[in-house]
Amino acid sequence: MADNDNILIQVKDLKIHFFTNEGTVRAVDGVTFDIRSGKTLCVVGESGCGKSVTARALLQIVHRPGKIVDGDIIMYRKKGQNQIEEIHISDMEPKGRAIRAVRGKEISMIFQEPMTSLSPMYTVGNQIMETIMLHTSVDKKQARERALEMLGFVGIPRPERIVDEYPFRLSGGMRQRAMIAMALSCNPSLLIADEPTTALDVTTQAQIIDLMQGLQKDYDMGILFITHDLGVVAEIADNVAVMYLGNVVEYSDIHTIFNDPQHPYTQSLLRSIPKVTATREKLEVIEGMVPSPFRRPSGCPFHPRCTKAMPVCSKIEPKTISLNENHQVHCLLFDDDVKNSMRGMAS
């Protein structure tokens, strides 16, 4: 992979399983990707495919019956001149001191619901200052200065008034801005945004995305952006990971994903968005439903809905295949062994 020194986070074959009373849910089942500083990785996929769980794993805040059972999450931290330190987040205790020092300082996260992600009991300022005072050795006054500064950065008018305001008195857009201000208050190198604009109206959505792009430039930070909205992806992504039932089925840069998708799921996903150019084209939907997590299909989990399914697809699980340095697919169609065998059958 090109310019390795820009890599911020490397996720390797990550597996997160939920051990519920009804059985084990393989919510994330072998996910691999990396995030570079200054770049945005978008994760897309249908509801329940494991996007949020993956994102939470980066901060070790996966919900209770869930556990990281396998794989690695490595954070690369610049250490002085030309020296890079490897930090294994996946090995950290979820409640330990080590991961708490990472949270909010090096990796920040903003969530989908600006309405409920801030506590209505404390002022915006209080909640931002809390983060600042937790990770830096400043006094209350300095923390307040910083909070005011951050609120200004994220485009909140009259920060000196908003800082003492309670979140429930702000609009959704304002709240999300405040969330961003809070997330960025300690200059993190990675910002995770889990559907940060889903709950906002279209105009506000555009403003927030512009803001994030601007801030990314200023701070040279990596962004992991989770969304359902392929329009947003087109706007901000550098790289895209398409997920299906706990797997990254295709991973590549934005141009390849949009212009030359290889995985049948990516292809149908792209076909399911209406094109402005096409006059009366029938909108294609992906056939069938996402299967229940407890009845995961055998073989390739996508095969029951796949238009290009082969009989082998229900028998063996695909592995990740690199089509080129920057394009990986998780599909048996591209598996040389399978191709050979098929040819053998035909002859």
Binding site: N21, P291, R295, P297, P311, I316, K319, S341
Partner: protein
């Protein structure tokens, strides 16, 4: 992955085995089924449910389960202590209890009954004993268990001040105490559905006013009011009238919770997402009501009914215990507990507290059952 595996897979296709299809079929269960599955997992609720069922069966067949009638007394055995039932005699099945002898307490010089292990009173299951009119319908004299010799004293849980069998009276009380709960709850359910329904359906100012009133009624301590009302019931009234009056008083002060549940359900039903979803899916109206609204509504009502019965039972017990509820000769757990008000009596015959054990078990069982039902009422959570 080996080539062999792939080949086998391809061969499977040839033999027409669509292994993939069975994997993704989504099973559609009715809402009742979902609730039942969820309820079944709640072990404590299942246990509570079994207990409740047992007690109500007991209440139906009291005459059979009680060794003697509740009015049967024997002045000779006043305050006789409980006997322990033994099942095997000389290695063979032969249930019996020990008899009593009179003893003078060396300190207080009071005469008391004590167990006399030299006297053996044989028992018989499915015994012919006191005759009764079952449900006022037909004469019978069959009892689950009783002394072979009808004159022998048989007091499993001791005797009271008139030498009546506490055990039999507890069983007879189950009928009164449990039905007071049931009738009271249905009365308050009626009021609740009426008021809550109006509140939820009419809405607006009426709703507001009703909610205010309910708030006020809830903020009043209800025992004094209940006692005040109960104290007004004339002494001359027949036992049946008193019984109904007490139930009405209990339900008058217990309907508010029910009305709130009904109202919130009405409001929720109007808005609920799944109804919207069903409408969008084009599900016919009738099916929508029977498949979605009714189960949701009923299950919540059933859960709150179950959770209100204990309050009624405890209320009746408290009223009767204070002597302002049901009156002898009617026998309920509260009426029985009246005897324990004199501490001297209680200290010498603590078995008079056994009716309270029955109350506690029933109330616990109903609470367990109700909690389970309430959880199961939201099968999607």
């Amino acid at each position: 992955m080996t080539i062999n595996e792939i080949d086998r897979a391809l061969a499977d296709r040839a033999s027409g085995d669509p292994a993939s299809e069975s994997d993704v079929r989504v099973e559609v269960a009715t809402q009742w089924q979902l609730m039942w599955w969820k309820f079944r997992k709640h072990k404590l609720a299942m246990f509570g449910g079994a207990l409740v069922l047992f007690f109500y069966l007991l209440a139906i067949f009291v005459e059979f389960f009680a060794p003697v009638n509740y009015t049967t007394y024997n002045e000779q055995y006043v305050y006789a202590p409980p006997q322990m039932i033994h099942f095997f005699r000389e290695g063979k099945f032969g249930p019996y209890v020990y008899g009593y002898k009179f003893e003078r307490d060396p300190v207080s010089f009071k005469k008391t009954w004590v167990i006399d292990e030299s006297v053996i009173i044989p028992l018989r299951f499915l015994n012919r004993g006191d005759s009764y009119k079952f449900w006022g319908l037909f004469n019978a004299n069959l009892h689950l268990v009783g002394p072979v010799n009808a004159e022998d004293p048989f007091y499993l849980l001791g005797a009271d001040k008139s030498g009546r069998d506490v055990f039999s009276r507890i069983i007879y009380s189950a009928r009164i105490s449990l039905t007071v709960g049931l009738v009271g709850v249905f009365l308050s359910l009626t009021i609740g559905i009426l008021v809550g329904g109006i509140s939820g359906l009419v809405g607006g100012r009426v709703d507001n006013l009703i909610q205010r009133l309910i708030e006020i009624l809830i903020s009043i301590p209800n025992l004094p009011i209940m006692l005040a009302l109960a104290a007004m019931v004339p002494l001359t009234w027949s036992t049946l009238s008193v019984y109904f009056m007490i139930t009405i008083i209990l339900s008058l002060l217990g309907w508010m919770g029910m009305a709130r549940v009904v109202r919130s359900k009405f409001l929720a039903l109007r808005e609920e997402d799944f109804i919207m979803a069903a409408q969008l899916d084009g599900v016919p109206r009738v099916r929508m009501i029977t498949k979605h609204m009714l189960p949701s509504f009923l299950s919540h009502i059933i859960a709150s009914i179950t959770l209100s019965i204990p309050g009624m039972i405890l209320g009746e017990t408290a009223l009767s215990f204070l002597g302002l509820g049901l009156r002898p000769p009617v026998v309920s757990w509260g009426v029985m507990l009246q005897d324990t008000q004199k501490v001297a009596v209680l200290a010498n015959s603590p078995w008079l507290l056994f009716p309270a054990v029955a109350v506690i078990i029933v109330v616990l069982a109903l609470n367990f059952l109700g909690d389970g039902l309430r959880d199961a009422a939201d099968p999607y959570q």
